[in-house]
């Protein structure tokens, strides 16, 4: 931006005057935007360069698996996909319970590339989809901001902010193949189209907005945010007395087409007309008709009769509509609010009522430092930007204000919703910063015609003339301009420093916090070289290669998608978490004694049990640390059989050492985690590095399952569920028999002692 304005005074002025200037600026703009897009893509490639082209985390593994299914079996099979390899024995109607936008997008790219004979591996497309779309997001935020601000630099600033803001990078690094990867682009672009539609009152832009809204619905559950934000915008505009045919045309076009589009997604289906979350859009649609009608009537009737008519009409309609809504909700025609929605208003709600939602870390309320961590200087430019919107409060600025308020609230409630806040923060910050730059980064002195009225206003200010007609007070002060080169240099220098710091911060955060695939753990060897701890894949690949293709694997739901994706084996529960009872069943099997767990596992045809154990390496994200959630979720269904209290010591501590309560020590999870672990250490010195406690000298013994595989660093342990005993004994008896006489003698001695006491 600086380079665009600076050479004005030089000899090359030919390029900056008239038609040529327009072309030059356009070209510069395109080059800058391309560079920004390239930066956005490049800054997300840390993990590919450091590790490899790999799908990250948990959910992306499912999306990846679904994409592979789509590519292999075609669209219609994908649409009708019933997946019998998850949620054994229930299965999952996957085709009808997912948002297909992401998979279809990568599938389309895959086919398009093959059409020009570029047979790229589908994995690489999936890995690089998010960075690619973040380049588009940067472009979309350029468009959106350009609509909102007159400043030539605001759009470009918004684009670069959007390109490198960690709040967005957190969900769009290479390999993070999740719905958000494309959804944020769609969100911003839909907003742009909406603003465009409202500004121009154009059916075409409204239809485009509806189209992209439909795409958004197919891609992410967060589409509800748009579904509520656009009606709210329209509603606020009506309340501000800004009803116009432009608004009417754009909203009705968007709503009618967008709702139809959204209903094409099987997972959404009839929700847009039945669930409470979508009612505001429908309500505003109705309201607009009424307002439009009233507007028409007003032109026909004298004002007094009109006033009366209006009042009665508003009252009657409000009462009828509200009554209808309540009635339909109570009767069940309109689905009541879902639990996830309640937890948006009451952060404690989930903890009490839905432990499965509360157990996910990204559903926790946001900590204050997270805002600075994810947005750095943008977070303090953000209010300034919102204030700028108030200064010229046109329809589109109203939108930014509403968006800002809503997104700020939601981002405070749930960590993952930081994602929806980031675009508006980038836009507002860009508007604020561009204002500063436009004012201070001018080479020449302010021109005379601007100077004259400014002195006038200064006089006027002193006198505070009351008679001046003004729309808003903030729009009163005309632009003055800066004369002192000193202050120009200082401000410009300061802003440059801030921007550089911002870039450094973003790079640092991206590199350190958001670029770990979490499937692979990296550590440093003493000589500084990188050592990769690849236990997950070691174990998953072992499962994939050396077990029956239909061997059922039981594990906690966190690993379900990874097992499905990497080990390619059926699982009992996975990250879809659609059936709480099934998850609680697994929780019960894990937290109960072997005698209780074994029948559960037999009933579910479990062949292998997989646990994650970090005690050897000090890997804190292991199953013993997640164990309390398993207990809680199981307790929710079987309060009599699993009790959280039993797993704490009498002093309320969660322990794994000698003082661990019997319920803990006898639980299958505890036994599987620590089985044979003590043999790695000298007698009695087994140490758990995560909990930092010394384990009992006597390790746990297993009778119904046997160790099948343990990965190199013991992170993943796989146990095989034993078949029924050939002689019909219980496994405990069989185990005792195998050990021989020792056990019998012990029993006898015990008997004798009891006799003596008697």
């Amino acid at each position: 931006m600086a380079s665009a304005t600076k050479p004005q005074s030089t000899a090359s002025g030919v390029f900056f005057e008239g038609e040529t200037a327009r072309n030059t600026r356009g070209l510069l703009r395109i080059i800058i935007l391309c560079t920004i897009a390239a930066t956005a893509v490049a800054s997300r490639l840390f993990s590919v360069i450091r590790f490899e082209s790999i799908i990250h985390e948990f959910d992306p593994w499912f999306n990846f698996r679904a994409t592979k299914y789509l590519v292999q079996n075609g669209f219609y099979d994908f649409w009708d996909w019933f997946d019998d390899r998850t949620w054994h024995p229930l299965g999952r109607v996957t085709g009808g319970t997912l948002y297909p936008g992401l998979m279809v997008t990568s599938g389309a790219i895959w086919h398009a590339l093959r059409a020009i004979s570029l047979p790229v591996d589908i994995r690489n497309i999936c890995v690089l989809l998010a960075p690619g779309f973040s380049g588009l997001t940067a472009f979309a935020s350029y468009l959106l901001t350009s609509e909102l601000s007159d400043s030539p630099s605001a759009g470009l600033l918004a684009a670069i902010f959007m390109g490198i803001a960690p709040g967005y990078i957190s969900r769009s690094v290479a390999g993070s193949y999740d719905n958000e990867a494309i959804a944020i682009f769609l969100l911003v672009f839909t907003f742009y189209l909406w603003i465009k539609a409202v500004k121009e009152g154009s059916v075409m832009w409204g239809a485009f907005a509806a189209l992209f809204y439909g795409y958004m619905v197919s891609a992410w559950g967060g589409y509800v945010f748009i579904t509520n934000l656009l009606p709210l915008h329209a509603f606020v505009l009506i309340c501000m007395g800004r009803f116009s045919p432009r608004l009417y045309v754009s909203y009705t076009t968007w709503y009618a087409l967008g709702t139809l589009a959204s209903m094409q997604i099987p997972f959404v289906g009839f929700l847009p007309i039945r669930s409470s979350e979508h009612m505001s859009a429908l309500g505003v649609f109705g309201l607009l008709q009424l307002v439009g009608f009233t507007d028409y009537i007003r032109q026909q009737l004298p004002s007094k009769q009109f006033q009366l008519l209006l009042r009665t009409l508003v009252l009657v309609i409000f009462v009828v509509a509200f009554g209808l809504l309540v009635l339909l909700t109570v009767s069940g025609t309109i689905a009541p609010w879902t639990g996830r929605f309640y937890s948006l208003w009451d952060t404690g709600y989930a903890k009490i009522h839905i432990p499965i939602i509360a157990s996910v870390s990204e559903h926790q309320p946001t900590a204050w430092p997270a805002f600075f961590f994810d947005l750095n200087m943008l977070i303090w430019l953000f209010p300034a930007g919102v204030y700028m919107c108030f200064r010229s409060l046109k329809d589109e600025q109203v939108f930014v204000v509403i968006y800002a308020v809503l997104a700020s609230y939601f981002a405070g409630v749930m960590v993952r919703l930081m994602l929806t806040l980031t675009p508006v923060v980038c836009i507002a910050a860009a508007m604020a910063l561009s204002q500063i730059l436009d004012t201070f980064l001018v080479a020449g002195e302010p021109a005379e015609p601007i100077e004259a009225p400014s002195t006038k206003t200064n006089d006027a200010k002193d006198k505070t003339v009351p008679g001046i007609p003004e729309v808003l007070r903030s729009t009163k002060g005309p632009l003055v301009g800066i004369y002192s080169y000193m202050s120009k240099a200082m401000i410009t220098g300061a802003v440059t420093c801030y921007l550089l710091l911002f870039v450094m911060h973003c790079t640092w955060v991206t590199s350190n916090a958001y670029s770990s695939p979490s499937v692979v753990l990296a550590s440093r060897l003493p000589d500084g070289s990188q050592h990769i701890i690849d236990d997950y894949r070691e174990a998953y690949y072992w499962l994939r290669q050396n077990t029956k293709p239909d061997a059922k694997v039981m594990s906690w739901w966190d690993y379900g998608y990874q097992i499905g994706g990497m080990a390619d084996r059926p699982t009992l529960v996975d990250n879809n978490t659609w059936n709480n009872t099934h998850i609680a069943t697994v929780g019960k099997a894990m937290s109960s004694r072997e005698e209780v767990s074994y029948p559960i596992m037999r009933q579910h045809e479990v062949d292998y049990v997989l646990v994650v154990f970090g005690g050897l390496l000090g890997y804190s994200g292991d199953d013993i640390n997640k164990f309390l959630w398993m207990i809680r979720i199981a307790e929710g269904i079987w309060p009599d059989e699993v009790k959280e209290r039993d797993f704490f010591t009498s002093r309320g501590e969660y322990r794994v050492d000698d003082e661990a309560p019997p319920a803990m020590k006898n639980s299958l999870m505890y036994k599987m985690s620590y089985y044979n672990f003590d043999k790695l250490f000298p007698a009695g010195q087994a140490q758990d590095r995560v909990r930092g406690s010394r384990l009992p000298a006597q390790g746990p013994e297993l009778s119904t399952v046997e160790e099948a595989f343990t990965s190199e660093n013991w992170i993943v342990r796989i146990y095989k569920v034993k078949d029924l005993d050939n002689l019909g004994r219980s496994h405990q008896d069989a185990g005792a028999f195998e050990k021989g006489n020792k056990k019998k003698k012990a029993g006898k001695r015990k008997g004798a002692r009891v006799l003596r006491v008697d």
Binding site: E52, S117, E538, Y540, Y541, Q545, K679, F709, W714
Partner: protein, 494 residues
């Protein structure tokens, strides 16, 4: 016989359902039609068989003096195998022992009686053997999957013993006057070697004779064609029985880049004894300090050609970080560790690839003609040997190359020339696909020589087609932009 035939066919159909890969291997082996049973044109005067069991497969060498007892010159010598065994026999070749440089011997599977329990290889001499003349044949072959661990299940730290079953009488389709069989074992720890009655022995000695790691069965006197005396030896072999069910190899030639890219996809399994109890990481880690011999496959070593570069080692779920590449002016060794040690009956599939300078493999043969010389397959080189059931080598030549011809000394069962589309090809690259069965790692030096024509103009096909495509996009954009698609008349006021 006629009645039985359909049943036999039905049986084979059922068999193919049960075990498609094994049967496919048999079916695809090259066969030639011949008479019902080999005619008794020959007599084996003296036969010495050497069975080398030092690796994880058996390598047999039969040196036999053959005499034509027919009245006419004969050139087709039949060599029998039991049905089922023949599809595990690889690399069978015959030579004239006295004149090793003499070429022209061919060996093919002869499709004889479908219902017979015996199948034959037909060896054709370069020149027919006149009546009463003799020739000293040297027949070598490897027998895959011929070692079976016994006991079939062992503890993780146990020694492994394998059993090799064979006939003390060498297989022959002709009467044999004198013969003996020598076994070369890798160890002196041989708990079992089936003893034969001394009466069978021509010299009346104890049978077998033992000398260090060598066992000798025989000599035996005159035996009719097809005589069998089943014996077996069981010996210690605490090494992995590495078996590759399939190896796919791609060689991609790029004249533009001056690069040749190799990629091998392996499907390995360890045929060693299964673990009696399940795998225990504790025992594995404790044993690692002493590093005793084990039946687990822990490491694979690929000695690549000097100058190989950019190696990669991945499997179905991504990069495997446990590899090491040592490359200097003298050697380029790729050392791979599978994600987990492969114990008995465990599988592992992976892919490795590397690049090399094309100039080392390709030379121009005047005009548009080029000659490419590459190893048919590389694969790991292990002390205990690796056996491959099926090797498929695909050579992808540059787009527009024609007139592809190849030579290799490895017996092939299939060949085809097709098109391969990648990286914005318009006409497709010429791809030569060759398949070989039952190959062992000793043969990894066998070269494949390919000659092809690559016209100079073909090099510019891609740049021109891409330029044309981009130009077309611009032209279409220009046309579309100039169209007026607005509805209604243009008005100045909004």
């Amino acid at each position: 016989m006629r009645l039985l035939l359909p049943w036999a066919l039905l049986g084979s159909a059922v068999f193919s359902l049960a075990d498609p890969s094994a049967n496919a291997a048999q079916d695809s082996q090259k066969t030639v039609d011949s008479a019902a049973a080999p005619p008794q044109h020959f007599r084996n005067i003296n036969l010495v068989r050497n069975i080398n069991l030092e690796k994880s497969y058996a390598r047999e060498t039969i040196n036999v003096v053959v005499e034509n007892i027919d009245s006419k010159p004969q050139s087709e010598y039949y060599f029998p195998f039991e049905r089922g065994q023949i599809k595990r026999i690889g690399g069978l070749e015959a030579k004239d022992k006295k004149q090793p440089e003499r070429t022209g011997f061919t060996a093919e599977i002869a499709a004889l009686d479908q219902t017979s329990a015996t199948e034959y290889y037909k060896i054709t001499f370069p020149a027919a053997l006149k009546p009463n003349e003799q020739i000293t044949l040297s027949i070598t072959y490897v027998s895959l999957q011929s070692l079976d661990p016994l006991p079939a299940k062992i503890e993780q730290s146990d020694k492994q013993y394998v059993r090799h079953g064979f006939s003390a009488y060498a297989p022959s389709a002709y009467t044999t006057l004198k013969q003996k069989t020598k076994l070369k074992l890798p160890t002196t720890d041989v708990p079992d070697a089936v003893k034969l009655a001394a009466s069978l022995n021509a010299e009346g000695k104890e049978d077998p004779q033992r000398q260090g790691t060598t066992f000798t069965y025989g000599p035996y006197g005159e035996l009719p064609a097809g005589a069998v005396e089943e014996v077996s030896v069981r010996y210690e072999f605490t090494k992995p029985l590495t078996h590759s069910t399939r190896l796919e190899r791609d060689i991609e030639v790029s004249h533009w880049g001056g690069n040749i890219a190799f990629e091998e996809r392996h499907w390995l399994t360890n045929r060693a004894a299964e673990l009696k109890n399940q795998f225990s990481r504790v025992i594995h880690q404790q044993l690692q300090y002493y590093n005793p011999p084990t039946s687990a496959l822990k490491e694979l070593k690929f000695p690549l050609a000097v100058g190989s570069m950019d190696p990669y080692f991945t499997d179905d779920i991504g990069n495997v970080s446990t590899s090491r590449f040592r490359s200097n002016a003298r050697e380029a060794n790729l050392e791979l560790k599978p994600r987990y040690p492969l114990f008995g009956k465990w599988n592992y599939s992976f892919r490795v690839g590397w690049n090399a300078d094309l100039a080392k493999y390709l030379r121009g043969a005047g005009g548009d003609k080029f000659v490419l010389k590459v190893p048919f397959f590389e694969g790991p080189k292990q002390a205990e040997g690796v056996a491959y059931e099926k090797v498929i080598t695909r050579v992808i030549l540059p787009e527009g190359s024609t007139n592809v011809e190849y030579t290799t000394s490895l017996p092939l069962v299939d060949e085809s020339v097709t098109k391969h589309y990648t990286f914005m090809d318009t006409a497709g690259r010429t791809m030569l696909e060759l398949t070989a069965l039952n190959v062992v790692d000793d043969q990894r030096d066998i070269q494949l020589v390919i000659s092809y024509d690559y016209p100079f103009a073909a090099r510019f096909r891609k740049p021109i087609s891409i330029f044309a495509a981009v130009a077309a996009v611009f032209a279409i954009t220009a046309v579309v932009r100039s169209l007026d698609v607005s509805i209604g008349r243009k008005t100045k006021s909004s």
